[in-house]
Symmetry: C2
Subunit: 218 residues, 2 copies
């Protein structure tokens, strides 16, 4: 599935409200419909879409009533800057080895057989991990801050040294990393001969360099 | 603005395509329309929405032609798990102090006055920061993995110890952190007296505890 398709799915307020509701407890259709004041028919359609995307799943309770719950751990990160637009989707699933290690760790000697104590311990671990996650997000924010500033300084210099708009656009592209000749022409929507002439000119000025099929800032 | 509103905006493929295009170069309406094969009228509407959300901005070139470009650094993180649905939006803007520090750093003694060398240096910095960002994302993924595993183990134990569905739902809620009495009743959509009875029963079993207005796992 195209990862950005998840953004289509989350771009609907009712579907976000359903996910929010299910994050508190598994629910059946009528319950969701009443809570969100949306027709059961519409709820069923939304649940179908969420189910197909692997975000929710259903099960039947002992009375045969069908419940829905969130199926997966998914992280979606969108980062937008003047020279980049990125969508990253991570389906968080611990591998078999990782799972075993974690289970050994939490079921190991350090925890008594007492169920309540084990739950309390897990609970503390969960809160500690949530805190670490918050701190990582903060660090990520700082790194993105610096990246954004470095990028805008690069753009300033590029606007200073570029002879025209096409030169500037080629240089913006190269700031992000080495790029092939065809990609430059494709990205900037310019004919190959034009790209060739422009790159030759930039090379002459000592602004770009070419190595193993890739162009980069000199 | 409601932060989740950004998800509505990004939940449209044409708008995502516009952002992607603008991340390569500033564009004018006709250009976007031709590239994406979408009518100029529709492009103008999308640009208006993106502009109102502070994601794009326009400027006029020397010939008076109106160009659009991405205005801001924004990060949107959505995390979905069986017991949580969170949307975090960070508008990345370096504060005045931070900006000054960064500028001093990059304009300082360590870099010669040569513009090309400065651009090259910034470019290396940008790629280094992008790499750090990737590594942080990977670490975040691992933390989320562990959190997800700890959570699913807590859910297993809860399903073992809870006498009924309501008890289980209360305990799921408390795994995420201490919660007030009113929040429990509100979240689970149960009357206050029912919540009171349930919590008293869980307390008697030694599963929950109450301190300074908040309930938590014992």
């Amino acid at each position: 599935m195209d990862t950005t398709y998840l953004l289509d799915i989350l771009g609907n307020e009712n579907r976000r409200n359903i996910l929010n509701l299910l994050s508190y407890r598994p629910c059946y259709v009528t319950e969701i419909s009443e809570e969100l004041k949306v027709s059961p028919k519409a709820i069923i359609d939304h649940l179908k879409i969420l189910e197909e995307a692997g975000l929710v799943e259903s099960f039947h309770d002992q009375h045969g009533r069908k419940y829905y719950q969130i199926a997966n751990n998914v992280m979606i990160e969108v980062s937008i800057s003047p020279i980049s637009f990125q969508v990253e989707v991570t389906r968080v699933e611990a591998g078999a080895d990782e799972q075993k290690m974690l289970r050994d760790r939490f079921h190991g000697d350090r925890i008594s057989g007492d169920v309540v104590e084990r739950l309390k311990y897990l609970c503390e671990e969960a809160q500690r991990l949530a805190q670490t996650s918050l701190e990582l997000r903060e660090t990520q924010r700082n790194v993105q801050n610096m990246l954004s500033e470095v990028t805008s300084m690069s753009i300033e210099i590029i606007n200073e040294v570029a002879a025209d708009q096409i030169e500037a656009e080629i240089l913006y592209l190269l700031v992000k990393g080495p790029v092939s000749f065809e990609e430059i022409a494709g990205r900037l929507n310019i004919p190959l001969p034009v790209a060739r002439t422009e790159l030759a000119r930039l090379m002459k000025k000592g602004l770009v360099t070419y190595r193993t099929g890739q162009w980069s800032i000199a």
